[in-house]
Subunit: 163 residues, 2 copies
């Protein structure tokens, strides 16, 4: 596989994770961490299921990867995530020293990699991270659009039933 | 207790947490979360012990509080932390909707509440958080200064023994 094929392959796995989230009624965001060509972590957003504010896909994947490598430094790894990370997850990427992330769709409301801030490229922090964006962005964003469309339709039906 | 006495009392508990971290060889940072006058979470930095990059005091305390309230929304709570939060922890404060934080010392290298960014007061995010800084800052900062002084001395002795 060349670089682009590899990125599509692993983003495909992250999308599978996002689909698992949707099936649980969770906002569909998925993440994968690889070292070389080996997947060392896969996770999806679980905020409603766990009732725990920090259980975003990236946070869960980073914790899995730390356990897999028995190290808080995730050297030589690459994180794939379907949506541009929020401030918490961008910060966790810096904390775990991930050298490279690949993401799908931009998040204009809370994205802190390109949209609202560029936290991963701020040289005042003790780590910077290479960023590849816009990998399968339509598929990644489409999952979110569909999820919120379905949610609105369900809520509308519920209101009708209750009326 | 008036507001300032209360802040000193709870920051004192956060300092006790930071001291527990130091005893384990961890960078001494501690955090407390209260609801009303009840402590619902207390935690200290455990990054080296757990080998998990996200186990900062604030992240651990937020997760404990979510469990205590069985909710990812930490409404009517207040977080006390000895050091200005990093981007990850500032982001976690936004994610968990904590309405008010109180911190001790500023962190000029990575602080994202006042020093490098003001993430908790950015109206583009869907939550903002009231901030009180400089509560027992000398005690909080002094713990860190002493910890790193001791660490340098131990490393120097180690090099001497090995030479």
């Amino acid at each position: 596989m060349n670089g682009m094929e590899k990125d599509h392959y692993f983003m495909g796995l992250a999308i599978e994770e996002a689909q698992k989230a949707a099936q649980k009624g969770e906002v569909p965001i998925g993440a994968i961490i690889i070292q070389g060509d080996r997947v060392i972590a896969r996770a999806h957003n679980l905020r409603e299921t766990t009732r725990n504010a920090v259980t975003h896909a990236e946070l869960l994947a980073i914790q899995q990867a730390c356990e897999a490598l028995d190290n808080w430094r995730l050297e030589d790894t690459k994180l794939y995530v379907t949506l541009e990370p929020c401030p918490m997850c961008a910060g966790a990427i810096l904390q775990s020293r991930i050298p490279h992330i690949v993401y799908g769709a931009r998040d204009s409301k809370a994205g802190c990699v390109d949209s609202l801030y560029r936290l991963l490229n701020d040289e005042r922090f003790n780590h910077q991270c290479e960023v590849t964006e816009n990998v399968m962005a339509d598929e990644c964003g489409g999952l979110l659009t569909q999820f919120f469309r379905d949610l609105r339709a369900r809520n509308k039906n519920k209101r009708k039933t209750q009326a």
